[in-house]
């Protein structure tokens, strides 16, 4: 009970920080829109090509905008060493991690919804809206994996002055299974093969559990020094 209470307090604080500072989500939304505009201009796709490329384009945007946002939420903890107020409190490192992962998950999900909506408008691809219920499962599972790994790595790298440069190099190779699972399963849904996504969804779920277990273990060590 206390564990989830502390995690909720950290989530609430991150939402307040975002409302006050607008440092993470607004940057993510701006970058995602920028990337979509670049893809739109550079690829000049017809309706059939959009269907086959949509999933890949979306996940590239999710990945890069997500990295930017998660780096910023960790920087907010490092500024003025604010995270020490959590370290010197009854909150366990695990509840700290879960609180941060929840806030990253929430911001990522908002960014992803915004990106998909922008994609519909920019690429004139309304099909996504009709398929949203089927897209939701791989999207949510992929976002869970993204936020679990991103929370750990962004906190690790912001300790270094080159943190924001280091983050993509460490983070992206580790989340390759999530990107692969997300791109493939969402691609299948968009191309009328929703029945074939089951094994990819299973894989995403397994990796989420794995990331959670390893990250919880490592975050404690990270906090101890």
């Amino acid at each position: 009970m206390r564990f989830m209470g502390n995690a909720a307090a950290i989530l609430r604080k991150d939402i307040l920080l975002e409302l006050r500072g607008r440092e993470s989500l607004s940057l993510m939304l701006f970058l995602s829109l920028l990337l979509l505009v670049i893809f739109n201009i550079a690829l000049d796709l017809d309706k059939d090509s959009v269907s086959s490329l949509a999933s890949g384009i979306l996940w590239v945007v999710f990945a890069f905008s997500g990295i930017l946002g998660m780096g910023r939420t960790s920087m907010a903890e490092r500024d003025e060493e604010a995270y020490l107020s959590i370290v010197f409190s009854p909150a366990s490192p695990e509840s700290f991690y879960i609180g941060k992962a929840l806030s990253n998950f929430l911001f990522l999900l908002i960014m992803e919804c915004f990106t998909m909506l922008s994609f519909v408008i920019l690429f004139d691809f309304e099909k996504i809206i009709g398929l949203l219920p089927q897209l939701l499962v791989p999207l949510v599972l992929g976002t869970i994996g993204f936020s679990l790994v991103g929370t750990l790595f962004s906190f690790l790298t912001t300790a270094s002055k080159y943190g924001e440069v280091l983050l993509p190099f460490l983070y992206l190779p580790v989340v390759v299974p999530v990107i692969l699972g997300g791109v493939t399963s969402m691609g299948m849904v968009l191309n009328g093969n929703a029945g074939g996504t089951w094994k990819w969804i299973q894989m995403l779920a397994v990796f989420d559990v794995l990331y959670l277990a390893v990250s919880l273990l490592l975050f404690r060590y990270l906090m101890e020094d």
Partner: protein, 234 residues
């Protein structure tokens, strides 16, 4: 009984030795002031005592338990060079967050009283980044009062403050002492540090030149040491 025991502490940053062979026992209600010139290793020592930095060698115990096995981080308040505040949040929101972590009623009278005592009640709706450095330090200390820890570890609490804020922070630390808390403080301001101490230590080049009871040291002796190292201690 000793609350904190540090044994054979050594801290190395690559080729540079920041601390070498530090032993110190800190009891309940102790108030230790660690003096030393810039670069003596005071901040490193306090970070290790507070458990946020690991030593290269040596052991640290809290209530006879290794730090990692103790409840130390729940019972210590650490204020370093930075204030550990969320700058974008308001004064009230920072206090509210701490109350939630410590399961204190955030709408209770205690928050109001503490903010009033620290002269921050009128500023409760202002973002922290609009406060002066002195007010930020007071807010950081107010957080400590709110959570009622056993030990206060304060690293250079007077740094960057003008005389008015310095005396204000000094009086707050006196309040902490009068409540019977353990205080470990580092400073290069001799007068303030001496006034607050029950024991006095002088750190130089990573080693203690001495740790003595306040009665066994004359303030001139500390000024003399600072003078010999090219600093004033004022």
């Amino acid at each position: 009984m000793n609350l904190i025991e540090i044994r054979g502490l050594k801290k190395q940053y690559h080729a540079k030795t920041a601390l070498n062979g530090i032993d110190i026992d800190i009891g309940e209600r102790d108030s230790i002031t660690v003096f030393g010139p810039n670069g003596a290793g005071k901040t490193t020592l306090l970070k290790i005592i507070s458990g946020i930095m690991s030593p290269t060698e040596g052991n640290a115990f809290y209530n006879n338990k290794k730090y990692s096995e103790s409840e130390m981080k729940k019972e210590v308040f650490y204020l370093g060079h930075k204030t550990s505040l969320y700058n974008a949040l308001t004064v009230g929101e920072n206090m509210d967050f701490i109350c939630r972590l410590f399961s204190i009623n955030h709408r209770g009278e205690s928050v109001k009283n503490i903010l009033k005592e620290h002269g921050l009640w009128e500023r409760r709706r202002d973002p922290v980044n609009e406060l002066s450095q002195g007010m930020k330090r007071r807010l950081a200390l107010a957080k400590g009062f709110m959570t009622d820890p056993k030990v206060f570890i304060l690293d250079e609490p007077f740094t960057g403050l003008d005389l008015r804020w310095r005396s204000s922070i000094l009086s707050k630390i006196k309040d902490i002492r009068s409540q019977g808390k353990t205080v470990i403080l580092s400073t290069h301001l001799v007068e303030e540090g001496f006034e607050l101490a029950t024991r006095v230590a002088f750190l130089h080049k990573g080693r203690f030149l001495f740790i003595k009871k306040k009665e066994e040291v004359k303030i001139e002796e500390i000024y003399g040491l600072f003078d010999s190292m090219g600093e004033t201690g004022k």
